[in-house]
């Protein structure tokens, strides 16, 4: 089965390779010439597609890396007579180095600012190549010889097309593998919910930086071929128009799909040539880069009508051919364009009777080696305070949590419970106070740092990875327990690790009674089950501290009982569980200790039976009988 699946997954690449090999035999020289450019830009577009689709970052200056590759190659060959292959390699490395240098500061920016910063980078590169002597100023570098390998010179469009074919096919294959790898899984999770991915230990910044560098490498390699094919490298190679063109290729093909990049580049290159010929015929006297009209219009139309690009169209057509009900356009596959880290849509709110979560699975999921001795201090919070402007959401909270206990955090709406969770898990930086997880200070650190210490959480406003399956969601939680990086991912070398991830993920899914839904998309699940997915995901991290924010909300009675049983067993395994919950009865029955918050303060902490009788707690929930009552009575008198 497995090898058959692997074969099938490589079949499209074989087909693509065959088509590309045959193409120069059947097409006119003119068409092959267009094809060569399509392949060159396509290679760069694959990289950009990884950056935009996988890392969720837009680069408006990708031509900068393309130009760096082209110029480096040209300079090394014409000026220093470096061997072609070596020059190409050096060109790619230089592109990637520059990406590393600018990526470290730039990728800390977000949204609009990153996009505009890359645009600025593009313009700086284009100014620099125009000004420097070594790049030949405005006229550029001439006389780059056609590539020669083993005495064979690739100088006709056909020959050059064949030279590029394996490069493009392999480039595409590597990119596809990366999307399916551990890195790809983590980044796709980041696109759905950055905060949840971080809380599962994904170092968003580091991964994005790697993909940024990789995409620069693709662009640099494309630049190398460009230099060879044109025999000239001029500042045009760094132009803004080229960046727009690459962007259009990726958007048209469909963000997040590497196949879309290559399809998009073929179409855009065709469009480019077509418009160049067509427009001057329609409008006499039209000169210059009139094909830009087409670029602009297509870009706008795609965004408005088909935000998922051709990939979305293809998905819709296949769905219709298979006779399935066609979903709404955007529902086909969530396009990164439409996700901004907002919580995924809820489900039907149904109350499935999933039966007892299976206990035998829990042992597989929780890793006893990672869990500290029962009763030892795992979390220590001191004088924790959070102020927003004039409002103090959390005020000087002190709290210790020990391994092997369930601590419930309760309190009325707006009491500061979730804010506490946010600070402990690293989502928010406290204004004041300290947080120690297993003796390490973590206040103000990023969530993935906290997760690496074995503390993870679920979210009150669900933060599931809506566009992947239940199993895919849970597999992200194994990020910290696996190691394969970008290179191993691209080469598909992590098969065994992937099998382990799947085994544990399935166990966690089964432990939450979700086995039947394992391969369904999470966004299609009812709300209650989405909540269980979050718990399964948190468990799959093999945590030693589990923070659950209202895990029972949306669950039916039996489901709540099942979850309670699971949490008890998790406690027996030595994990510390902290939960925020509104179902006071359930909390009192489940928790070893109860902490009550009101108006940002911790007003009570102790055994459930004690807390239940605490007058301050009763007052917080129902309003006080004495002070406020007196005030209200007095107020009522004023009215009547």
């Amino acid at each position: 089965m497995r090898s058959e699946g692997v074969l099938r997954s490589y079949l499209p690449f074989a087909v693509l390779a065959a088509v590309l090999v045959v193409f120069p035999f059947v097409a006119s020289t003119n068409l092959v010439n267009i094809g060569v450019f399509a392949l060159i830009y396509g290679l760069a577009a694959i990289g950009l597609s990884l950056l935009m689709g996988l890392a969720g970052q837009v680069s408006l200056g990708h031509a900068a890396f393309f130009a760096v590759g082209a110029y480096t190659n040209a300079i090394l060959i014409t000026r220093y007579q470096v061997h072609g292959v070596l020059a190409a390699g050096a060109a790619v490395v230089v592109s990637m180095l520059i990406a590393l240098l600018v990526g470290i500061p730039l990728l800390r920016l977000r949204g609009h600012f990153l996009a505009l910063a890359t645009l600025g980078l593009g313009i700086i590169v284009s100014v620099v190549v125009r000004e420097l002597d070594v790049t030949g100023g405005t006229s550029g570098i001439f006389g780059i010889p056609k590539p020669e390998i083993n005495g064979r010179v690739y100088d006709t469009p056909q020959e050059f097309f064949w030279l590029m074919t394996p490069v493009v096919v392999i480039g595409l294959l590597l990119a596809r593998n990366l999307v399916r790898s551990r890195t790809g899984r983590a980044l796709s999770a980041v696109n759905d919910s950055e905060v949840a991915a971080e809380c599962l230990g994904v170092n968003t910044f580091a991964l994005r930086l790697r993909v940024f560098i990789l995409s620069a490498g693709y662009a640099g390699l494309a630049g190398v071929f460009y230099a060879y094919w044109l025999a000239v490298v001029s500042p045009e190679a760094s132009g803004f128009q080229l960046s727009v063109k690459m962007l259009l290729m990726v958007v048209l093909g469909g963000l997040g799909t590497v196949w879309g990049a290559i399809t998009g580049s073929i179409m855009v290159q065709g469009l480019d040539e077509g418009m160049r010929v067509l427009i001057p015929q329609l409008i006499p006297g039209a000169t210059g880069e009139v094909q830009l009209v087409g670029f602009g219009v297509v870009l706008v139309l795609v965004i408005i009508l088909l935000p998922g690009g051709l990939a979305q169209l293809a998905a819709m057509v296949t769905a219709r051919l298979r006779g399935r009900q066609v979903e709404r356009p955007a529902a086909g596959r969530s396009s990164p364009l439409e996700s901004d880290g907002a919580p995924a849509a809820g489900g039907q709110g149904g109350h499935g009777e999933d039966g007892e979560p299976g206990s035998p699975y829990l042992g597989d999921v929780l890793d006893s080696a990672q869990i500290p001795e029962r009763g030892s201090l795992v979390l220590s919070v001191r004088e924790l305070t959070k102020r927003y402007g004039g409002v103090t959401a959390v005020r000087e909270v002190n709290l210790d949590v020990y391994a092997g206990e369930i601590l419930a955090l309760i309190g009325p709406n707006g009491a500061g419970k979730t804010t506490c969770f946010n600070m402990i898990s690293g989502v928010l930086a406290p204004t004041d106070g300290t947080i120690e997880v297993r003796g390490r200070r973590v206040e103000g650190r990023r969530p993935h740092v906290v997760a690496a210490l074995g503390a993870t959480r679920t979210f009150q406003n669900l933060q599931v990875f809506g566009s992947s399956t239940v199993l895919g969601n849970v597999a992200v939680a194994r990020h910290l327990r696996s190691r394969s990086g970008v290179v191993r991912g691209m080469l598909s070398l992590a098969r065994r690790e992937e099998r382990d991830i799947e085994r544990i993920a399935r166990a966690a899914v089964a432990a939450m009674g979700l086995a039947d839904d394992a391969d369904r998309l999470v966004k299609d699940l009812p709300f209650g089950r989405q909540r269980k997915v979050e718990v399964a995901r948190a468990l799959a991290l093999s945590p030693m501290l589990l923070l659950l924010d209202e895990p029972m909300a949306g669950l039916s009675g039996p489901e709540r009982d099942g979850l309670a049983a699971l949490l008890r067993r998790t406690r027996e395994a030595g994990v510390a569980v902290v939960l925020v919950e509104h179902d006071v009865d359930a909390v009192m029955a489940l928790a070893d200790r109860v902490a009550v918050m009101d108006e940002g303060r911790l007003i009570a902490l102790g055994a459930p039976s004690v807390v239940r009788q605490d007058p301050a707690v009763i007052a917080a929930y129902l309003g006080t009988d004495d002070e406020a009552d007196a005030l209200l009575r007095q107020a009522a008198k004023e009215v009547y």
């Binding site: 905060v195 707006g414 406003n461 509104h582 007095q634 004023e638």
Partner: protein, 261 residues
Amino acid sequence: MAGLQVQGLEAGYDRLQVLHGIDVDVAPGELVAVIGANGAGKSTLLRAVSGLLRPRAGRVLLNGEDITTASAERIAARGLAHVPENRLVFPSLTVDDNLSLGGWTRRKDGHRAERRRQVLELFPRLADRICLPAGALSGGEQQMLAMARALMAGPSVMVLDEPSLGLAPRVVGEIITTLGRLRDDQNLAVLLVEQNVRAAFRVADRVLVMDRGRVVAEGTPDQLADDERVRAAYLGGGSTSSGSVDRPAAEARPAKATATP
């Protein structure tokens, strides 16, 4: 028919149905309180009434006029004021500007100065802070400003979402008193969503208890005061809440900000 009538209202988000057929009537000069646990659908009810969320079924009548499918802006112009959860004052604008914008839908009728005077009489504390940016006010003052802003449109119906949230008991008392005064002096129809049961019971003419998108009990405060269902809905009788998705978009903003540190 004056006041607010809600008939068989159903509403939700995406695939999640939150309200399963709600009926509420609020007559002029009447204050109806809606209580219930987190996630019961109280905020969703208000959002569906004021047009922030389009109902899926049922009708909403404002002074006899069907406003079920009207936009929030239109509904505001028709005389329904929604005081949102978390107050949502315009923080960088002054108290005075907040009030002026409250009267946006009536900006051309020439009674703004008169209404402003009335509103400031009702909330004298705001008069002292009239030139301060709203963001500099305390929580209680912001709540008062949110109410004052809503009153500047001269509404006939006012709906409030947890005005007591995060406020000290004394301020809650003040706000509840003012609500009673508005009902009695200005003949407003008031629909109040509250977590603070005692405060709500003090002032309400009638109380509805919501659970999982349905009204499960209804009556005068006296009738409901000792009702087990009220206690259950609050302190958790094991039958609370259909989820905490009942969260207004207003709150999604700060939530999003915190999600990207």
